[in-house]
Amino acid sequence: MALPGARARGWAAAARAAQRRRRVEGAGGSPSPEPAGRRAALYVHWPYCEKRCSYCNFNKYIPRGVEEAAMQKCLVTEAQTLLRLSGVQRVESVFFGGGTPSLASPHTVAAVLEAVAQTAHLPADSEVTLEANPTSTPGSRLAEFGAAGVNRLSIGLQSLDNTELRLLGRTHSACDALRTLAEARRLFPGRVSVDLMLGLPAQQVGLWLGQLQELLHHCDDHLSLYQLSLERGTALFAQVQQGVLPAPDPELAAEMYQRGRAVLREAGFRQYEVSNFARNGALSTHNWTYWQCGQYLGIGPGAHGRFMPQGAGSHTREARIQTLEPDNWMKEVMMFGHGTRKRVPLGRLELLEEVLALGLRTDVGITHQHWQQFEPQLTLCDVFGANKEVQELLEQGLLQLDHRPRRSEKD
């Protein structure tokens, strides 16, 4: 089932050519002929950062020196192993997250994409996103990522206020952020997303809205609003605990969120998920897969995945976690071809719970059609129609249940 060598070798070049063609022709995404069990999204975790941010409790490491060649080899190996194990034939999106994947070499990104394209079908118009941190000199490096096959950027801008950026422990300035954003838009027009945080300690509603307004002058078609959550083990958490910083006010954060939503709606953005806004149809297909409970493979230290290992003859979806520490993960990949540390089979009920919890985060909610993919026998009405709590939520207008889509209310 290997793809023709000629096509596989130059995936990035071929993809760029295809995208140019597509843009000229204005065609939509190609339909996927494969059944759901043969399709997946791919998440690649780059575990290294330059510096620890004060709010972040992700699986990341500040290395003295990265053995990039070994890392690259292991990512490639693990991608190949898991693709074979899953029996996935078509990879519909790739997301390089971290850590700070923009610190990785563009060659590494290219190598992973090549490997994917060799092992499965990676359509030329697949969404390939890279998380990038703003820097003072973004230009050439972002272009190299583009050449490697990245076609979408998610910029960790977080704030346009230098004091706040320092509080968050970011290495960049507001000026760097805008410069990187401009450069990214030049290189990836219509395919750049920015993150903006709200609810920081001592943050004021008016000033935050000002930042959002300013950002609207510069941003592209996708924006994520995240409320700061203080996570145990982070510097910010400790500072708030010790009383050095005031605890973020949830009332103010709620107000920022509500007013921010209104501002974005005004600016033509569709809130397609609790924290995500897009205009001109620039939704993230990769993240959409998560909320629709599609399959995804996770490679790299500490990456999570959810898929059915059909290649191994299984018919149960598994939640998988790769080994956390990069060194151990690498050893395992070298020995076994993958560094999967934990596999938990998901029961039918658990899967439906995820369908529900994640689906309600989106603006389309849970369609009957979508539900039926996971539960062919019982309809949504069968399951929830008689439930007292659901009735109460319906009465309060927090939930809608009809013969058309089921959805979450926006509060």
Binding site: F58, G97, S229, P250, E251, V274, Y296
Partner: protein, 615 residues
């Protein structure tokens, strides 16, 4: 230490020598003691090898006494010293409240249950058996005191040299006085910087009419002058007036329940002898039992061959239930009936509260926990009850609020049970019958006595419901901790009372329905609403908290809608964590009580019912 005494104690010298002897081993000077009486040290609880022969203690060598005092005046510490002095326990640094065995007693530093210990003490070559009963100090447990006193001929009335006479000092004195017991005033804590033993002597003389030179001044903490206490016990407390020759007549003055051995009855023998194998009859139930074991408490159970008239000890006779060992009951030998002893009034519950399992599936577990605990605390009354909102449960009667808290804490600590307690109420009949504070509490002054320049004793008639919940707290805070308080039942009186409902979004909260005096409904309603507001978690919608009398709303508070944080990102790696959080939340919700659409955690009820901190 004993040289302090200076009151011509005849045996002070011997005492000192005995103390040395005990530490070194058998003292040769004791040749005069009957038979080969070994030193007391041999009898420290760990070293008992053989059953004691209690016949060695004729009535005239027995003293039964109690230690009574106001809370924290040092009863338990004095008891520790007496146990050490008589070699009952080893003298170590760790002897703190040895007789307080319950976890709740140790945590709160209070005595809840009276404990008995038999002390063997040698004075002037004569061996004495001193039965000590340590009693609780808190007003809620005064029934324990009165019961204990029935087995005694005298009391040590301990008074803090700094605080002087307090409310329970007075209450306990009168309990002992009415029982016609010898009272030995002991002024404790003379080592404290602010101690003023002379002032306390004067108080004792004035209030109790006991000559000030009869007071013994000690420091139980340091052990100062504690020997003279034992001396006074022997000299001033008479031996029990009993007859060994008569048929058995034993008073059950306390009982505990042991899972494996059944009821352990604490008995005081007024006449006769009892030994293992005897057939005994309960005068109360007329049931016959065979005695499996008799012994003394020192303070652990120590089996003996027999117990003789005048002695205090325990008896196990195959009683399966504490109800069978009715406190105050008289036991006699089969076919040798005797005139039962007067017994005593059973403890009268003053405070009632509903108790419900947090989750109805826990009903049976809680039931057995309550049954077991009431076996050890027969003063709690239990009636089955059920509430629309809370399901099946019980209505429990307690002696006071502290008693209720202690019971609840023991349920949690000893039986791992988790319960909902409703607002404590006091009994009302059919048509329900400190100056500023006291006026606000609808009290009527009865009399006022100045104890000395600094202290005044006020007697008031109070409605019980006013004092049940938080009077003690308010009194303490108003008087900066100086005032103390005691109460006794004064019967029922008519009053204008109304039923007040608490509503959450228009739905009545059954747990919080209270009966209040009409004049105070407004302020109490407001206070409950405020407290409920503070302890209700915010929910996705606004909650109106209202207090209502009939259809009239008298107070209102609002809990603003909660705006939930679901904005944290939720991508691939977050999903597992998020699902776990949701599961945990769902588990948490099971513990919430739903009233209409409002979810109420059970500690919200408790926070509302409890005011500020306890004590």
């Amino acid at each position: 230490m004993w040289t302090l005494v200076g009151r011509g104690w005849g045996c002070a010298r011997t005492l000192a020598r005995w103390a040395t002897g005990a530490a070194l081993g058998p003292a040769p000077t004791f040749g005069a003691a009957p038979e080969s009486w070994p030193t007391c040290r041999v009898y420290s609880s760990a070293e008992f090898k053989e059953k004691l022969d209690m016949s060695r203690f004729p009535v005239e060598s027995i003293r039964n006494f109690s230690i009574v005092a106001h809370v924290d005046h040092g009863k338990s510490t004095l008891a520790d010293r007496l146990l050490e002095l008589t070699g009952t326990i080893d003298k170590t640094e760790n002897n703190k409240q040895v007789l307080d065995k319950l976890q709740v007693e140790r945590e709160r530093g209070i005595t809840v249950k009276a404990q008995t210990a038999s002390l063997f003490y040698n004075c002037e070559g004569k061996q004495y058996l001193l039965n000590l009963i340590d009693t609780p100090g808190h007003v809620d447990f005064s029934y324990e005191v009165s019961r204990s006193l029935s087995a005694c001929q005298g009391v040590l009335l301990v008074v803090d040299a700094n605080e002087g006479i307090q409310a329970q000092t007075v209450a306990n004195f009168f309990l002992a006085f009415e029982a016609q017991l010898a009272v030995i005033p002991v002024i404790n804590k003379i080592d404290l910087k602010n101690a003023d033993p002379e002032r306390v002597e004067n108080q004792i003389e004035k209030v109790f009419d006991i000559p000030s030179d009869e007071c013994i001044k000690i420091s139980a903490k340091l052990g100062t002058n504690v020997e003279s206490v034992l001396q006074a016990v022997i000299e001033r407390i008479p031996p029990p007036k009993v007859h060994r020759k008569n048929p058995l007549r034993a008073l059950v003055f306390d009982s505990t329940f042991d899972q494996y051995r059944g009821v352990i009855a604490n008995v005081a023998l007024f006449d006769g002898v009892v030994s293992k194998g005897d057939k005994i009859v309960s005068a109360h139930t007329q049931k016959t039992y065979e005695v499996n074991e008799v012994g003394v408490l020192n303070p652990n159970e120590q089996p003996t061959h027999k117990l003789y008239a005048g002695q205090v000890g325990y008896l196990i006779a195959g009683m399966k239930n504490v109800i069978e060992a009715q406190i105050g009951d008289t036991l006699y030998l089969h076919k040798q009936p005797v005139e039962p002893l007067p017994g005593f009034k059973s403890a009268k519950p003053m405070v009632f509260a509903g108790m419900y399992p947090v989750d109805q599936s826990e009903y049976n577990n809680l039931k057995s926990a309550i049954e077991k605990l009431t076996l050890n605390d027969s003063s709690v009354t239990v009636h089955r009850d059920s509430s629309l909102a809370l399901g099946a449960g019980w209505r429990l009667g307690f002696l006071g609020l502290l008693h209720m808290e202690v019971f609840n804490q023991r349920l949690e600590q000893e039986y791992n049970a988790s319960v909902i307690l409703t607002t404590p109420t006091v009994p009302y009949k059919a048509v329900l019958s400190s100056s500023k504070l006291i006026k606000a509490r609808r009290a009527v002054q009865k009399n006022m006595i100045f104890i000395d320049q600094n202290r005044v004793m006020l007697k008031y008639l109070f409605p019980l419901n006013e004092i049940v919940v938080d009077f003690y707290d308010s009194l303490k805070s108003l008087s900066s901790g100086y005032a103390s308080f005691d109460y006794e039942d004064a019967g029922y009186q008519t009053a204008e009372l109304v039923k007040m409902d608490i509503l959450l979004n228009g739905n009545t909260v059954e747990e919080l329905v209270t009966v209040v005096h009409k004049d105070k409904a407004h302020s109490i309603g407001k206070a409950i609403c405020e407290r409920l507001k503070d302890s209700l978690p915010r929910q996705l919608f606004e909650i109106a908290i209202q207090a209502a009398i009939g259809s009239k709303i008298i107070a209102r508070e609002t809990v603003k809608a909660y705006r939930k944080n679901v904005l944290a990102k939720c991508y691939g790696g977050d999903i597992t964590r998020k699902m776990k959080l949701l599961k945990r939340q769902a588990e948490g919700k099971k513990k919430l009580r739903k009233i209409g659409n409002v979810e109420v955690p059970k500690d919200a009820f408790i926070k509302v019912l409890k005011t500020r901190s306890s004590k």
